[in-house]
Symmetry: C2
Subunit: 329 residues, 2 copies
């Protein structure tokens, strides 16, 4: 039996062959547990069947969920992910080099941004122009790139509606102080901005007065616990606010944890029946004073969607950016 014959049969061009030939080939393949060599196939096809997954290490809580969704999608099409993380733009550039040397068929980008605002976004945009298949995730830095993001507006809408449904009327928004600056700094803080818009819109539509309370995040906001400590220190801003809110929508799960801890350390600080909702993960925490409604972010779905977009792009199909809100409970 010749190599091409075997090949044809194994790859489904069965019409051309006699039943007997087919049977013999199939049996032999099974017996030998034949598995095609993907690298060799790729050499011929000028592909690697490898996808590069670049992640900013500050987003480490997202990694596990994202990669799970991603691998489900891509291994089903016999692609495999090469996963690399970076902590700086230099790191990122080096990892990118590694991936290109590997001839990856596509790239997931999760930009690093230096304290000065420097990033590799421009380079990525050029690469995309030059034909590299690339999808950006959890960010809006690379011009023109298809992206998968979290829909913070939808998250805020759902969070606010949830508290309204629980009967709350005085619902505050507790967010960080840069929620309004996102218009001016491209790529940064837009999630807080959209979140705020979603909150305001929902409150207004319900005929309720929005009250936005912002805490300042001091120093490097990517440092461990930056939001936690800032929120803790500013807990009174929320709990002693003149508008006397009975509930609050939060922008960050970390800030929720801080208020939960503050409230249990200061039993009279939070009004009876205070409610909190948030579009984020909240770490397991003991709390009796406050009712917490966490709408988890669909991180795994983001991973799946990103893989799908990337594979579609590689296959030459049209792709469109997606923003993913909270799952219906």
């Amino acid at each position: 039996m010749s190599i091409p014959t075997v090949h044809q049969v194994l790859n489904g061009y069965n019409v051309r062959f006699s039943a007997e030939t087919r049977k013999k080939v199939l049996e032999a393949a099974k017996e030998l547990d034949y598995r095609p060599n993907i690298a060799a196939r790729g050499l011929r096809a000028r592909k690697s069947f490898l996808l590069g997954l670049q992640f900013n290490a500050v987003n480490y809580p997202l990694i596990a969920g994202f990669t799970r969704g991603f691998q489900q999608m891509c291994t089903a099409q016999s692609y495999a992910p090469i996963f690399l993380t970076h902590v700086s733009t230099e790191d990122e550039a080096e990892n990118c080099r590694t991936l290109i040397d590997r001839r990856v068929d596509g790239l997931i980008v999760n930009c690093a941004v230096g304290t000065t605002g420097a990033s590799n976004a421009g380079r990525f945009a050029e690469m995309r122009q030059a034909g590299t298949h690339l999808v950006e995730v959890f960010g809006r830095f690379v011009d023109g790139a298809p992206r998968v993001t979290l829909d913070y507006r939808a998250g805020a809408v759902a969070s606010t509606e949830l508290l309204i449904a629980k009967g709350h009327k005085k619902i505050a928004l507790f967010t960080h102080s840069d929620y309004r600056t996102s218009e001016r700094i491209p790529g940064l803080y837009w999630t807080a901005w959209e979140h705020w818009r979603g909150y305001e819109e929902t409150m207004r539509q319900a005929g309720l007065e929005p009250t936005t309370i912002a805490y300042q995040v001091s120093g490097d906001r990517t440092r461990e616990g930056a939001h936690y400590f800032s929120a803790y220190e500013n807990a009174k801003l929320l709990l002693n606010h003149p508008a006397k809110p009975t509930a609050a929508v939060f922008y960050r799960g970390e800030a929720v944890e801080a208020i939960l801890h503050y409230a249990s350390a200061n039993p009279s600080a939070a009004p009876e029946g205070f409610g909190i909702s948030v579009f984020d993960r909240v770490a397991p925490t003991h709390s009796d004073a406050i009712s917490l409604y966490a709408l988890p972010q669909p991180i795994e779905d983001v991973g799946q969607a990103a893989a799908k977009l990337l594979l579609d792009s590689i296959a030459g199909r049209e792709v469109e950016s997606i923003a993913m809100g909270p799952k219906k409970p």
Copy 2:
């Protein structure tokens, strides 16, 4: 200029060639930004220069650190990691299949264990026997495999010594109730056991009386926050213990968080100046009553070491298992 000539020059067999030839080749290579195709090289060498990285998703807090260490080591030798996570033994088997189909040159294993104790450890042991290069991390399931683990004994020794150095004499150990069963269940709870041994040994050597206090973890202990809630509910076991400890060595960071929260919610519960030390990561938490000394686990180093072991094994060198304790502060 012929292909082999170029090849030879580019790969450092320079002695054989005239200076002029060398120069021409090198210049052309630079100008064209020549990068060898690793897949093609691998086809000929019957290698893939790919390493499979299988991680149990329950260990997600370790992923970011581990992969960073791992990638540093392996990209330096022009290997790249394919990263896959599993949540069950079936998942793990499927991922393993994916990696083998990819002809990975080596495998990092982080076993899943079902509630019945079932695992793929046997299969991995066979694969190793059959010549697959494989390194186990954070576990002791695969018979005969070289592994990189955390040295919980050293962690406990350092934790205990630290509290002794701070002047504490009544130092308890706060751990979960299965710390003694590890002798009987291979692969499970051995970290708690070693940790306990390290604590006892250090206390005895210092002429102090060890007091081990254990909390029961109810239900599925891999569920989110299992240790946190169990420790919280059993906080009194530690803080009201008849031996009146002034400090405690903890086995888990999560349990530390629980006690910190409990103590700030119950201000008189912890004695003045209570000290806690732990060989683990502790999430950022506001706390004034308790002095916390966290000795971080060297997760990134584990990643590096695992990559080194695997690459050594692939290169045919002898490899030996490593246990990594806390870094000297």
